[in-house]
C-alpha cells in the first residue's frame, strides 16, 4: 500500500531543497505533506508564503487539533513539538526542547510512525545537528519509507549523516532522485 503522509524534516540548508522538491512534484499528487523545519522562535517569517509560491498544494501553518487533509502542506509552528493523534489530527506540545530543538524532528517522526506504520514516508534533509536520526530509525523499523539527503549534496551533512550512522538502510538520494521517487510513488 502507498504511504499516506510525507514528512520532511530539515534544518540549516534545507530550505532551498524543500522549495525545489515542491516545485517539481507532479501536479496530480495530493498526498498530505508535513514539514518540520527548525526555525527561530517568535519569528514571523514569510516561510509559508514563500512555500506557497512553489506549490500547487495549499500551505498551512498547523493549528492544534487540525485534521490532516489531502492537498495540504502543513508546517510545524515555531516553538511547539508536533505529534499525531489516532483520529488524524495534529497535537501541539510545548514540552522541553529535544536536541536543542522545538519542534524536534525526532518527536514528529516517532509520533507519526507509531500510528501510521508503513503509511508514512520520512525525508531527512540538510542540517547541522543530530535531530531526526533516532526518529527516522524508528520510522524505518515501523516499515515506513525513509530517505536521507545525499550527504555529499547536503549543505550541512551532519543531520543525514547522523541518521545514516545509526541505521544504514535508509535510501540516500540527491534532490533530483528524491523528486523522482516521490513522483513515481505517489502518482
Amino acid at each position: 500500500m502507498k504511504p499516506e503522509i510525507i514528512i520532511i524534516g530539515g534544518s540549516a540548508g534545507a530550505f532551498d531543497t524543500i522549495l525545489s522538491i515542491l516545485n517539481n512534484l507532479d501536479k496530480s499528487i495530493d498526498t498530505p505533506i508535513v514539514i518540520v523545519l527548525h526555525r527561530l522562535k517568535n519569528s514571523n517569517s514569510s516561510f509559508e508564503s514563500i512555500l506557497q509560491r512553489s506549490t500547487h498544494y495549499t500551505v498551512k501553518e498547523i493549528d492544534d487539533k487540525e485534521k490532516i487533509e489531502k492537498g495540504f502542506i502543513y508546517t510545524a509552528p515555531a516553538n511547539y513539538h508536533l505529534l499525531l493523534e489516532e483520529n488524524y489530527t495534529f497535537s501541539l506540545d510545548v514540552s522541553e526542547l529535544v536536541n536543542f530543538s522545538r519542534p524536534s524532528i525526532d518527536i514528529t517522526f516517532e509520533s507519526f510512525s507509531i500510528l501510521l506504520k508503513e503509511k508514512c514516508c520520512g525525508i531527512l534533509l540538510s542540517g547541522s545537528n543530530h535531530d531526526g536520526a533516532i526518529g527516522l530509525k524508528i520510522m524505518a523499523e515501523n516499515n515506513g519509507k525513509t530517505i536521507i539527503q545525499d550527504c555529499d549534496e547536503a549543505e550541512f551533512a551532519i543531520m543525514p549523516k547522523a541518521a545514516k550512522n545509526i541505521y544504514n538502510k535508509h535510501q540516500e538520494l540527491n534532490t533530483k532522485d528524491i523528486i523522482n521517487t516521490l513522483n513515481n510513488e505517489y502518482n
Partner: protein, 270 residues
C-alpha cells in the same frame, strides 16, 4: 515503554483509583509523558507503573506533577502581551475592580508577567488575580516565585519585544543563581489548585488567560473547558488562549467576538 493501547487502560485505572480523569487528554503527548516518567523512575512495564502508583502514595502526586507539561517562560509570545496591553487593558480600566484568572499557570511565569504589565499601566492596585493549576508542585513553585538566572536573557528579550521600558531584573531580587520576584507582585495573586477537567466555576473574572493548556486536551475536553470559561466571564469579558489553539470548533464560539485573531484574544458578546 508502554504502547498506545496500554495507555487507555492505565488512564482508566487512574480514574477509578484516584479520581483524576486524563482519559480525554491528547493521547500522543500523554504517551510521551508517561514513558518519560517510567524512564526516569526505572519502570519497565505498565504493570510496574500501576503497582507503584497504587502502592506508593507519594508516587502518585509525583506522577501528576511530572506528566503535565510545566514548561513556560516570562512574556511568552511577546506580541500577545503587546496586544493585551493595547486592546484589552483600556477596556479593563473602565471597571472599578478587576478579577483575572490565569488557568494552567505553571510555575507562575505568565501570571507574574501579566502582573508586571498591570503595574506598569497602573491597573495593579485594583486587580486581583486567581492563578490555578492542576499540579500542586506548580502552585508551590508559583508561590515561591523563584527562577533560574540562566533564562533571563530570553525573558528580557521577550519583555522588550512586548514594549517593556524598565529593566526586567528590577522586578526581582537576585543572587548568583536565582531571581525571586519582588514580594509586592505576590500580594494581589491567589494561587490555588484547580482542575479544569473536574472543578467548576469559582469566580466571575473579566479576563481569563488559558494558554498552552488546551493543546493537551482532545476536542471534547477543550469544549468542556471553553464552556467553563464562558460561564466564568461576564458579557464583555475577555478570553485569551494559546497562539495555536482554536475556539472555532467549540459550542460557545458564536458567543464570542475576535479581538485579535493572530493572538487569539476573544470577547464574550452574549
Amino acid at each position: 515503554m508502554i504502547k498506545l493501547n496500554e495507555l487507555d487502560e492505565l488512564l482508566f485505572t487512574i480514574k477509578k483509583q484516584f479520581d483524576y480523569d486524563f482519559s480525554d487528554y491528547s493521547k500522543a503527548s500523554m504517551l510521551r509523558r508517561v514513558n518519560r516518567f517510567m524512564d526516569i523512575n526505572n519502570m519497565k512495564t505498565s504493570v510496574d507503573l500501576k503497582f507503584e502508583l497504587i502502592n506508593n502514595p507519594t508516587i502518585f502526586q509525583n506522577f501528576i506533577n511530572e506528566i503535565v507539561v510545566n514548561v513556560s517562560e516570562f512574556f511568552r509570545d511577546p506580541s500577545f502581551f503587546k496586544s493585551l496591553h493595547e486592546k484589552v487593558f483600556p477596556y479593563l480600566d473602565s471597571y472599578p475592580k478587576i478579577n483575572i484568572w490565569t488557568a494552567g499557570c505553571s510555575f507562575g511565569e505568565e501570571t507574574y508577567s501579566l502582573n508586571i504589565l498591570l503595574k506598569e499601566n497602573n491597573l495593579f492596585p485594583k486587580t486581583r488575580i486567581y492563578a490555578t493549576d492542576i499540579s500542586r508542585n506548580a502552585i508551590e513553585q508559583s508561590k515561591k516565585g523563584i527562577y533560574d538566572n540562566t533564562n533571563f536573557k530570553d525573558y528580557t528579550k521577550n519583555y522588550y519585544e512586548c514594549g517593556g521600558k524598565e529593566s526586567l531584573k528590577n522586578y526581582f531580587v537576585s543572587d548568583e543563581k536565582h531571581s525571586m520576584i519582588n514580594s509586592e507582585f505576590k500580594q494581589n495573586i491567589l494561587f490555588s489548585n484547580h482542575n479544569l477537567v473536574a472543578d467548576s466555576v469559582f469566580k466571575e473574572c473579566q479576563l481569563i488567560l488559558c494558554r498552552n493548556v488546551l493543546i493537551y486536551f482532545n476536542s471534547k475536553l477543550q469544549n468542556k473547558a471553553f464552556e467553563l470559561f464562558y460561564d466564568s466571564l461576564p458579557v464583555h469579558g475577555f478570553l485569551a488562549i494559546g497562539k495555536k489553539e482554536s475556539l472555532r470548533f467549540s459550542s460557545v464560539y458564536e458567543n464570542f467576538k475576535e479581538i485579535d485573531r493572530e493572538e487569539k484574544i476573544y470577547q464574550k458578546i452574549r
